[in-house]
């Protein structure tokens, strides 16, 4: 398998305005994601997982270290090209959906394509199979305030997928959903991953993480531990993750 994303010795230090206090969000993170993987990153609040995701999303720059996507260092891309780069290579799914309430779902999904200057017919061609797969074909002309949270999140997934990105970055995608919608969404993620889509998800929901094929645990700014799914079922995975979290919370050494 080819390596899609490689993170090398990432460090991020936040400095307060007058430079008195330095807060280390990430001290030394290294990880690599292979093409077609489905990875969940777990950690408590303040563990640095959001900082990591922001750096991977090219929304923030690291203090030290490199992020290579297909061998290209995204931390070195100029400010001008960064937006186009994100649009073409990364897809985002957010906790609070980030749909524009001035657009109907269809236009929300088209947004990244329109920004890239695609033709209407081409966009429509791409949308049709995607919408029927996500089960939102009937909702396309509705506005975000007219549909449920789960439907909003599916539209957001469609928006992330429509550019056929190299990597989907999901930030607590089930965070704002009821448990049934969350299950639906996770099933959807598994399905698109099976079709070859690489997904990297940040979450603190054990249930969400248990769908992934590999789970990374971040604590105090470093990758603390990881679990491979192997052949375990989702339930077994769930058990493994919660055991790990318990051990981490009680301060035990996981590698015992």
């Amino acid at each position: 398998m080819t390596v899609l994303l490689e993170v090398k010795n990432l460090q991020k230090v936040y400095t307060t305005r007058f430079g008195e206090n330095n807060v280390t969000a990430l001290s030394n993170v290294s990880l690599s994601v292979e093409k077609g993987e489905y990875i969940a990153i777990m950690g408590e609040s303040g563990s640095g997982k959001t900082t990591l995701l922001n750096i991977l999303a090219a929304l923030d720059k690291p203090t030290r270290g490199k992020v290579l996507l297909n061998g290209k260092d995204i931390t070195a891309i100029s400010e001008k090209e960064i937006s186009a780069f994100r649009r073409n290579n990364l897809g985002f799914v957010f906790q609070d959906f980030n749909l524009l309430d001035t657009f109907n779902l269809k236009d929300n999904i088209f947004l990244p394509l329109v920004l890239s200057g695609k033709k209407y017919n081409e966009m429509n061609k791409r949308l049709k199979p995607l919408a029927s797969k996500l089960g939102i074909t009937d909702l396309l002309y509705k506005y975000p305030y007219e549909v449920s949270g789960g439907q909003k999140q599916r539209a957001a997934v469609a928006r992330a997928l429509i550019t056929s990105p190299q990597l989907i970055l999901a930030d607590e995608p089930t965070g704002a959903l009821d448990s049934r919608s969350a299950d639906d969404l996770l099933r959807l993620f598994t399905e698109i991953n099976r079709e070859g889509q690489t997904i990297l998800m940040v979450t603190h929901s054990i249930k969400a993480a248990s769908h992934a094929r590999r789970v990374l645990f971040i604590s105090d700014g470093t990758v603390f531990h990881q679990i491979y799914r192997g052949n375990s079922t989702t339930e077994e995975m769930f058990q493994k993750i919660s055991d790990t979290l318990t051990t981490m919370a009680t301060g035990g050494d996981i590698n015992d």
Partner: protein, 680 residues
């Protein structure tokens, strides 16, 4: 516990100072402007100035406008503030404050605000009042008393008016609090907005209103007749503006959205859909800005041209330094001319550009269909006041000899039924004139005519008819006597002369000479045994009587500037609050767009262009309104004897440019605030 509400009220005001201070400043300015207008209306020193009475009657009119304006304006801003604070009230409610407690806090807040703005407003008013008075005194050449004039009646009027306004605002706030459910109060700022529906009928109605309003404004010939129509036009244009801003803009954007090739372009995609919401939220505010701007522009440019064109108008009304008008058959005409000569030479003044002529001036109702002038006195009574001005015409007959002599031309007329015609306002539609059952053929239209102060003062349509000779003139005179009986006109005699040299330098001499003649004429008319007893005419002198001429117009200019300032203030504040709301509402959108792959710069560019459209739409529309208004206002100005179209055009363009620059500055300043909010 009892101290809680006042202190809460106080901290609330302090906390929301970014929205509250501009509100208080606008209250203070409105109060001080109201105070100044009331105080100037009462000021006894102004009553003593030349034309001061007229100024004060304008001020009375201004008081009404300012109070209506203050009411609408302060209510508008307060409803904005209230909307922003609804979630705050909701929070109090959920934290356990009952609605009556919140009401108490609001009462204290309103009370504090009222007291603060009243005191500051009146103080500002007193200071500025002095300044205004100095300006007025300078314009009218009055003396300047030392010290401040403090008008107690103006103070009590201001307290009263704004007390009522604040009370109503308070009631409205309380009503809002009681009406709402706590959850709604909490959420009210974040509920999703429905996409605006297109109201095609309203949009079409808007186009129709605006079109017909423009049509009336452009096509109306006689402004006096048109005053009623003009009000209709103004109302149509205002209605059209509101309809187009609200329904029309949404309709247009919907059309653009339907065009897929246009809509799904990077440049248009976000703008079109966001603009629709922006217009939905802001249309009324923008239409307000547009109407206010139009008012400012029309008022200031018109009054400015009047002020600058005053000398021009003076020349029209008093075409010569001295003018004598009397009945042509008055035996004393020559004697009075000699009296003038004597008085002038006594003061060492020399005559220049002397002219004299006879005319017969007849009023008639012009019947367009039958192309004739009806001279039946009964026809007047059936006309309404406005019709009268439109249809009533004054025909002035002079002989060809007089015309050629005065105008230094050599026109010829061969037949007794041929005439030459000059019209000063509405043009004659046909080439014949039917009057007193006589048909006159117009063989030529003249470009110029003898100066006539009376005709300048008369606002009906004037037709100056040159007839062949005295025989024709007398014939018309006789027919006029027969038709009008005791209301018939006489043939008048005019004598006009200027004085050689600069009129400013000779002013005292001219005044002395004029007073000398006046005394002799008046004295003699009273005693009955002087050589001038029974003189039918009158003598006018430009330097003396022109003194007071136009003072009332200057007052108009003053009021124009004054109300202009008030409306500009309103425009600025509406813009400020608009930017503020836009800022809060765009903040989330800014974030999302960046998250889905738009660069910071792209987002800024897109939003900037939308905001630019939103803010410059009213200005451009105001410009178009002013342009369509131009012909009408110009015709009104011709009534005031300002015939200088170039001057008026320059004034209008100048005002528009100055206003645009001002507008841009305000826009720049307020958009800084906008970016501060969005970036946070």
């Amino acid at each position: 516990m009892t101290r809680l509400y006042p202190s809460m009220a106080f901290t609330n005001i302090k906390k929301s100072r970014r929205t509250y201070i501009p509100y208080m400043v606008s209250c203070i300015l409105t109060i001080s402007i109201y105070y100044i207008i009331c105080s100037l209306a009462d000021n006894e020193n102004i009553a003593l100035l030349w034309g001061g009475n007229i100024i004060q009657s304008y001020m009375g009119f201004g008081q009404i406008i300012v109070s209506i304006f203050a009411f609408i304006f302060l209510f508008y801003i307060n409803s904005f503030l209230l909307k922003r604070r609804r979630s705050e009230f909701g929070l109090y409610n959920i934290l356990g404050m009952e609605k009556r407690h919140i009401t108490k806090v609001i009462i204290f807040e309103t009370f504090y605000t009222y007291i603060t703005v009243m005191i500051l407003g009146i103080l500002c008013g007193i200071l500025l009042d002095k300044l205004m008075y100095l300006i007025l005194a300078k314009m009218f050449g009055g003396g300047i008393p030392i010290g401040f004039y403090i008008s107690t009646s103006a103070i009590s009027k201001s307290f009263g008016l704004f007390g009522i306004i604040f009370l109503l605002i308070l009631f409205n706030s309380i009503r809002q609090i009681y009406k709402a459910k706590p959850v709604e109060l909490l959420k009210s700022e974040s509920t999703g907005e429905r996409e605006p529906k297109v109201k095609w009928i309203l949009a079409a109605l808007g186009v129709a209103c605006l079109g017909s309003g423009y049509y009336i404004a452009v096509t109306t010939e006689n402004p006096v007749a048109a005053f009623a129509m003009y009000f209709v036009a103004v109302i149509l244009v205002i209605a059209g503006t509101y309809l187009l801003f609200t329904a029309g803009s949404v309709a247009l954007l919907k059309l653009l959205k339907k065009n897929k090739g246009y809509y799904y372009k990077t440049k248009h995609f976000i703008s079109v859909s966001s603009m629709m919401y922006r217009m939905k939220r802001n249309a009324v505010g923008l239409a307000n800005i547009c109407i206010l701007s139009t008012m400012v522009l029309v008022m200031v440019s018109a009054t400015l041209s009047i002020y600058l064109g005053l000398d021009d108008s003076l020349d029209k009304r008093y075409p010569a330094e001295f003018s004598i008008s009397s009945m042509a058959d008055d035996p004393l005409n020559n004697d009075v001319s000699e009296l003038l000569d004597k008085s002038l030479s006594k003061e060492g003044l020399k005559k220049k550009n002397e002219i004299s002529y006879k005319d017969l001036s007849v009023s008639a109702v012009y019947e367009e269909k039958e192309d004739r002038f009806i001279t039946d006195p009964d026809s007047y009574t059936s006309l309404s006041a406005f019709q009268t001005y439109d249809k009533l015409a004054t025909l002035v007959f002079v002989t060809l000899d007089d015309y050629n002599r005065c105008m230094r031309t050599d026109e010829t007329i061969n037949s007794e039924s041929d005439v030459l015609v000059y019209s000063n306002r509405a043009q004659l539609e046909t080439d014949t004139i039917n009057i007193f059952n006589t048909k006159l053929n117009v063989i030529k239209t003249l470009d110029d005519f003898m100066v006539s102060g009376n005709m300048a003062a008369n606002i009906s349509n004037g037709y100056f008819v040159v007839v062949k000779d005295d025989t024709v003139l007398n014939d018309i005179y006789k027919k006029n006597v027969k038709a009008y009986g005791e209301y018939s006109s006489f043939i008048n005699y005019y004598y006009l002369t200027d004085i050689a040299g600069d009129p400013e330098e000779n002013k005292t001499a001219i005044e002395n000479a004029f007073n000398d003649i006046k005394t002799q004429l008046n004295d003699s008319q009273q005693s009955g045994d002087s050589p001038y007893a029974g003189f039918t005419g009158a003598i006018e002198c430009r330097s003396v009587e022109g003194e007071s001429f136009g003072k009332d117009l200057t007052g108009l200019f003053f009021i124009g500037i004054f109300l202009g300032l008030l409306f500009i203030m309103a425009t600025v504040l509406i813009m400020y609050y608009k930017q503020l709301t836009e800022g809060y509402e765009d903040k989330k959108r800014f974030e999302i767009l960046q998250n889905v792959g738009m660069s910071h710069r792209e987002v800024k560019k897109s939003i900037n262009s939308q905001i630019l459209t939103v803010f410059f739409l009213p200005l451009i529309t105001a410009g178009i309104h002013v342009a369509f208004n131009f012909p009408f206002i110009f015709r009104v100005l011709t009534l005031l004897n300002l015939f200088n179209m170039k001057l008026f055009a320059l004034c209008t363009i100048g005002c528009f440019l100055v206003f645009t620059i001002f507008y841009i500055i305000v826009y720049k300043m307020t958009s800084r605030l906008y970016y501060r909010i969005v970036k946070k």
